[in-house]
Subunit: 405 residues, 2 copies
Amino acid sequence: VNSPSFQVIDGGITAPRGFRAAGVACGIKGAGKLDLSLLVSDAPASAAGVFTTNLAKAAPVLLSQDHLRRSSGQGRAVVINSGCANACTGSEGRDHARLMAEFTSQAVGCDPLAVLVASTGVIGVKLDISKVQQGVASAASRLSPSGGADAARAIMTTDPFPKEAAIEASRNGRRFRIGGMAKGSGMIEPLMATMLGVVTTDAQVAPALLQRALKAAADDTFNAITVDGECSTNDCVFALANGASGVELTEDDWPLLVASLKAACEPLAIGIVRGGEGATKLVTVTVTGAASAEEARRTARAIANSPLVKTAVHGGDPNWGRLIAVAGRAGSSFALESAAVRIGPVTLFAEGTPHDDRAPEAAGYLQGNEIELEVDLGTGGSGRSRMWTCDLSAEYVRINAEYRT
Amino acid sequence: VNSPSFQVIDGGITAPRGFRAAGVACGIKGAGKLDLSLLVSDAPASAAGVFTTNLAKAAPVLLSQDHLRRSSGQGRAVVINSGCANACTGSEGRDHARLMAEFTSQAVGCDPLAVLVASTGVIGVKLDISKVQQGVASAASRLSPSGGADAARAIMTTDPFPKEAAIEASRNGRRFRIGGMAKGSGMIEPLMATMLGVVTTDAQVAPALLQRALKAAADDTFNAITVDGECSTNDCVFALANGASGVELTEDDWPLLVASLKAACEPLAIGIVRGGEGATKLVTVTVTGAASAEEARRTARAIANSPLVKTAVHGGDPNWGRLIAVAGRAGSSFALESAAVRIGPVTLFAEGTPHDDRAPEAAGYLQGNEIELEVDLGTGGSGRSRMWTCDLSAEYVRINAEYRT
């Protein structure tokens, strides 16, 4: 039994066989910008989704959850508009989400329940459903196995660049592909709603297995990033598995399936952080020595969201006292006398003793644009967790303080 | 039985009878800046304290907790240095905190256990204990019933102004005073540790009752403010009650005692927010319609700490969608269809319906510098909570991104 290999390949959601996509401009954003994305599997596919935990879920989130439940995880198409989140839009918004699925089912020739719907953009603004109708028709006529790139552009809001990734996994002669796209500046824009991701694979995976694997992969990728700790009304990640590779993955292939999905999702997730608003540095936060993985994650998240840590990284300040202070307040077990703090290769605090003389070396390291922060909580436990975040700049404030007009 | 009246009076910690204080420069900060504060009660007093919940507690925090326990809440003096937090300083730091208490006990002529100690400033830097020794001697020789103002200046770090408050409470002919001082920019500075408060009263209050009342008052004042959700290694609030007014407050006077303490603490707490780093607006967040007071507080805290809400307020953007999004993710019960959002007098969302046409009116309101935000969670419950915060400006980032030198 060989260990699996993952090769990065060109493309995104249409890199796996049997998927076509398109991205078109239907006028929601205006100025001819791409704003409607359509993905179709040639054959019926298993479908899965992970969704925002926000209680103010947008209409398309509620609809897609309902479709996955009622179809028992069978899907054919994903339709996404950008420029309007269709969130906090009342019963009219729910009608619009349902119509988006119906237009798509008619254009594609499938059951409406096999359509997953997402929206991203301004909250509280009515969706122009006639534009969506035209957009779906236009996109359906342009579906192509090379349409992934346009589809990835059509889901962008204020993202500085599109985010696509694809890999080919092989193990013991079995080969299959996973492709994906994502959007998000890693935060909620002025009245914008955040993160969307779509993952495709030409492996055959039963719906329940796909759902569990997507959740597991998302926990270590899309759910391990933060820009500012906000959780939007519209976040979702969809997966479609159509079996076109002829490779079937079963329960026995769980490690391979999860590792493959992670390999495709990680660059998408990191891409969201790199494109975070005002971000100038990618920051990897690692917490070790925690009493449990859950406690490690809680502290890693607190550090990754700390405005004091993020401004210090932005300013190149090797401010290890802030990391200690966040670790102490994060709600996880913490033993100061055996804790340690590292900024890149430089240990600034260990065994209760500051090494502030090393601060200049750490300050030099912080001039780079890929920063690693590591905190050992000193409990002697084996819990560890990793999260990605970005620095906090004055540009972030400028962007978010501007009145939407 | 008349209801109590609270009259604002001049002064701070020495406004109540029987207290003397001083603030001196002993060279920790340099440039002749006041950096050591001493408060002494002429008679033995009841003492109480509330402390940071951070697990990386600074040496003076641990010492003061120990003294309160071992003295059963008997106190005579409070000594505070600024410019050095004496946090993360190992066993030497613990020795230094103990020595601060001993120097003070010798200068004042009391048991070392009757001395409460606090430090604020840079984390991880050694305290110059010989400077503290000189400072304590100098302060002890200058103790005065009008020394409260100097004492309030001597605990400042980067605070833009000192924070003092005093009231005279009267009820049914009984009169007593409460005075206080506080420091804090409402956040942790670059390696600075945050909030300190000292409250004095000339009422006689038993230690256990004083402790409970201080906790209750702090929960609605010092613990109801935030600038960035950080909780430092050094936060503490002390209370001394010396009985010099001849008025004794007992368990029967609980409402009067707590209300009086709140009346003195609230302006100090609000002062910390007004002086928050980069702050240009004071923001009052009120959450109503929650399933419980605890859930209301959780959501109010999430809103008050949301960088998206704080940048929107800074920019004058009536961005009610962000308030909904935070309320939805705060972990409290939330019913979108019956929720409501108000910015000042303007209702922008109610009963599932946006009123975005009122955004210009709300934008006008946001030009002011005292802003009220209110979110009804729509559960029909009676839980409500209020918190104070400030806006998030580019100046905040600038201050916190600078390398400490």
